[in-house]
C-alpha cells in the first residue's frame, strides 16, 4: 500500500497496465511531452516513447475513431478527453461505431475513454459537465465513476482489461483533494459492483464520484443511522446492492452532480420503484444539479451544484418523514 491522490492513482493504474501489456497505449491532446492538461500522463513519454503516448490533433472524432480501429486490430487504447465535455465531438464514432460493433459484427472493441468531469472551479458550461447520462442511453458502453483513489486505480485497470468500450469518469474536483491507500502493483476492482461505504439502517444514500465523500461527511455530521453506497459503476448498475439497501432502510436519497432529468438518479429511483415498492417508507428523493448549464459565475455555480448543506437537509427531511 502507498498513499496516493486520486490523480496519482489513475496514473499508477495506467502505467502498471502499459508496463504489463504492450498492446496498451494512450492517445489524446497534449498527453505526450506536456503530460496532459491535468498531468495524468506526466513522465509517460519518457518511459514509453512517442509511439505509445500519442499526441493527437484537436479532433475528438479522430481520437475515438483511431482508438476503435486499433481496438478492433487487437490493441487496447486508452483515450484521454482533455475535458469530458469534448466527447461530444467524437460521439458518432463512440455511440454508433464503438458501442455497436459487437452487436452488429461480433467484434470486441476493448478501449477506454478517460473523461475528466465535473464543476466547482468556475470552468463554465464547456468545461464542467457531467455527461454520464449521455452514455447510459447508448447500449454497448460500460460506464464507471470512481470516488476514491483505490477505486480509481482498480476500476481503470479493469476497464483496460474489459473487452468492451468503457467510459471512465474521473472527477476533476477529486484529482488532488481525495487521497488514500492504494495497493501497489496489480490491483483491480470489478466493474458492476457497488460498495457500501458506511452501513446504516434508516436511510440509504446512493452516490458516485464527487457526492460520495459529501454523503459520508453528511452522515457523520448528522450522526444518524445512514447507509452510504458508492455506486462506482453506472452501467451495468449493481441492482442487487441497490435493492438490498433500499429494502433494508425503506428511505432513499440519490445524489449526483449531474443534471436531474433522465439521469442516474432517475434510473435508480425507477429501479427501486419497480422492484422495492413494498419496502418503501418514504418517497424516493434525488439531490442533483438542476437542468441548467453550469454557470461561470462562482456564486451561481455554487448555487447550482449540490452541496453538503443540501445533502444534510435532504437527509434530515427523509429521516423525519
Amino acid at each position: 500500500m502507498s498513499e496516493m491522490t486520486y490523480l496519482e492513482a489513475i496514473s499508477d493504474g495506467l502505467r502498471e497496465e502499459m508496463r504489463r501489456d504492450d498492446s496498451v497505449f494512450c492517445l489524446g491532446e497534449d498527453i505526450g511531452v506536456f503530460g496532459g492538461a491535468f498531468k495524468v500522463t506526466a513522465g509517460f513519454h519518457e518511459e514509453f516513447g512517442a509511439e505509445r503516448v500519442l499526441d493527437m490533433p484537436l479532433a475528438e472524432n479522430i481520437i475515438i475513431g483511431a482508438a476503435v480501429g486499433a481496438a478492433v486490430e487487437g490493441m487496447r487504447p486508452v483515450c484521454e478527453m482533455q475535458f469530458a465535455d469534448f466527447i461530444a465531438c467524437g460521439f458518432d464514432q463512440l455511440v454508433n461505431v464503438a458501442a455497436k460493433l459487437h452487436y452488429r459484427q461480433g467484434v470486441a472493441v476493448p478501449m477506454v475513454v478517460r473523461l475528466p468531469t465535473g464543476g466547482g472551479f468556475s470552468g463554465g458550461p464547456f468545461h464542467s459537465q457531467n455527461p454520464e447520462a449521455w452514455f447510459l442511453q447508448a447500449p454497448g458502453l460500460k460506464v464507471v465513476a470512481p470516488a476514491t483513489a483505490e477505486d480509481a486505480k482498480g476500476l481503470l485497470v479493469s476497464a483496460i482489461r474489459d473487452p468492451n468500450p468503457v467510459m471512465f469518469l474521473e472527477h476533476k474536483h477529486l484529482y488532488r483533494r481525495i487521497r488514500g491507500d492504494v495497493p501497489e502493483g496489480e490491483h483491480t476492482v470489478p466493474i458492476g459492483e457497488a460498495r457500501v461505504v458506511r452501513a446504516g439502517g434508516e436511510l440509504s444514500v446512493f452516490a458516485y464520484g464527487s457526492t460520495v465523500a459529501m454523503a459520508q461527511q453528511a452522515a457523520e455530521e448528522l450522526d444518524e443511522d445512514i447507509e452510504v453506497v458508492d455506486l462506482r459503476t453506472l452501467c451495468p448498475l449493481d441492482r442487487d446492492t441497490i435493492l438490498a439497501s433500499a429494502r433494508k432502510t425503506g428511505k432513499v436519497l440519490i445524489a449526483h452532480e449531474a443534471t436531474r432529468s433522465c439521469g442516474v438518479g432517475a434510473e435508480v429511483a425507477a429501479l427501486i420503484g419497480e422492484e422495492a415498492f413494498e419496502d418503501l417508507d418514504a418517497p424516493v428523493r434525488r439531490l442533483t444539479a438542476p437542468d441548467v448549464p453550469i454557470p461561470f459565475s462562482p456564486p451561481l455555480e455554487q448555487h447550482v451544484l449540490p452541496g453538503l448543506d443540501d445533502m444534510k437537509e435532504a437527509a434530515r427531511e427523509l429521516l423525519a418523514y
Binding site: G250, E278, D279, L280, D281, A282, R316, A320, Y321
Partner: protein, 420 residues
Amino acid sequence: MSSSRTETLVEVTMPQMGVSVAEGMIVAWRKHPGDWVEADETVCDISTDKIDTEIPSPASGRLVEILVQENETVTVGTLLATIDTGAQPGQAHAVESNGHAAAPEPQPEPNGSPDRSHVISPVVRRIAGEHGVDLSQVKGTGIGGRIRKKDVLAFIEAGPAQERPLHTESPYRPEPAPAPAQAQEESTGSERRMPLTPMRRQIAEHMLRSKRTAAHVTTFAEVDMSRVVARRAELKERFAARGVPLTYLAFVARATVAALQDQPVLNASIDGDDLVYHGDVNLGIAVALEDGLIVPVIPRAQHLSLEGIAAAIGDVSTRARSKQLVAEDVQGGTFTITNPGQFGTTLATPIINQPQVAILDLEAVVKRAVVVDGPEGDSIAIRPMVNVCLSFDHRALDGAEAARFLGAVKARLEQWADDA
C-alpha cells in the same frame, strides 16, 4: 440535532394578479402560525374581483405570523404573513420557545405539521399486514404523526399488549359534537342566514354597476338552426375523436365573431367620453359554476376556425369548473356570450359585462312549426328554432346597428358555411 438556528423571515404578500387588480380578500388560511409549510404549498385562498386563487408559499419554513385575517380585503403588495426559513421540520416554533405563545406543554406531535397519521407508506402497510397489526393502535413519530417503519416494528417488538377484544365496537354512541360555530352564520326556525360568498358579492356589485352605467336595450331574433343542426351532426364524431366537444354555442360564437368584425362598434367599450374600438375579438364565454358565474375569455377569437373556437370553449369551461383558471384567463374581454338556454329557457334580457357595449344570449334550440317559403309557395315545416337575444348599450350604438348585427348573426347561422 442541536444546531443553533437563526430566524430568517420571508414575507408572503398579496400578489399582483394581472395589471388591473388592485386588491384582494383573504378567503381562508390553510396554514396557521406554527405550521410547517413547504415551498409552493398553498398558505391561503384569496379572492379578487377577477378571480379566486391560492397563494403559494415563497419558501419552505415555519409560518410565524398571520397579519391579515380572513374576510379582510387589502391592496396588492400588503404583507399577509411571515415564514421562518431558518426553522427545521420537527423543531419547536420560535415563538413557543420564547414563551410568548399559548402552548404550555410540548406538542404531542413532533411538530405542527398537518395531521399525516393516516398516510401509510407501502412498507408500513406490508409489515402491518404480515403481522396482523391494527395500525390505529400504532403511534406515529414521523412528520405530522405519520407512522414510520420503525414505529410499526417497535409496536411488533413490544408484543401483544392485551388479548384482542372480541368486539372492537362499543355499543355506546357518543353524541355528535356540535358543529363549530360559523362566523355570522345564523339559523332561526326555517330561516337560514349566510353571508354572501366573495364571488356572489362581486357579481352583485358588478351587475348593479352595469345597470347603473349602461343604457340597456335588448333585442331578439328567431333563428332557424336547421343547417347548423345538420352540420353539427356531420362534424360531431370527427371533432370528438380529436377531443373537441362541438356544441351549438361554438357555431353561434363563430358567427358572432364574424359579425363583430363587420360591425366593430359592437366590439368596443366606453371609456369616459370615448368609444374604444378593439382590434381583436376577445370573446368572453359565461360559465355557470355551482356557486356563481365566471366569464373566461378566448383571446383573438377572430383567428379561430369553428373547431378552434369549439376547442377553446371546451378548454375554458372545463378549467372554469375545475377552478384552474388564471387571472389572465378572465381579463381583456371585448364581447360576451351567455348560454343559459341549455336549461330550456327561451328568452332573456342579459346584463352587459362592463365596460363592453353588448352581450349576446343564446337560448334553447326547440322544434317549432314555422312558415317556410319554398318553390311552391308557403308551407308549414318543423324546424329547430332558437332565440338569440342581444342586450346593447344605447349610449354606444342605436337600435338599427344592433338589429343589423343580430340580423347578420342570424343570416350566418341560417346559411351556415364552415368558412363563414
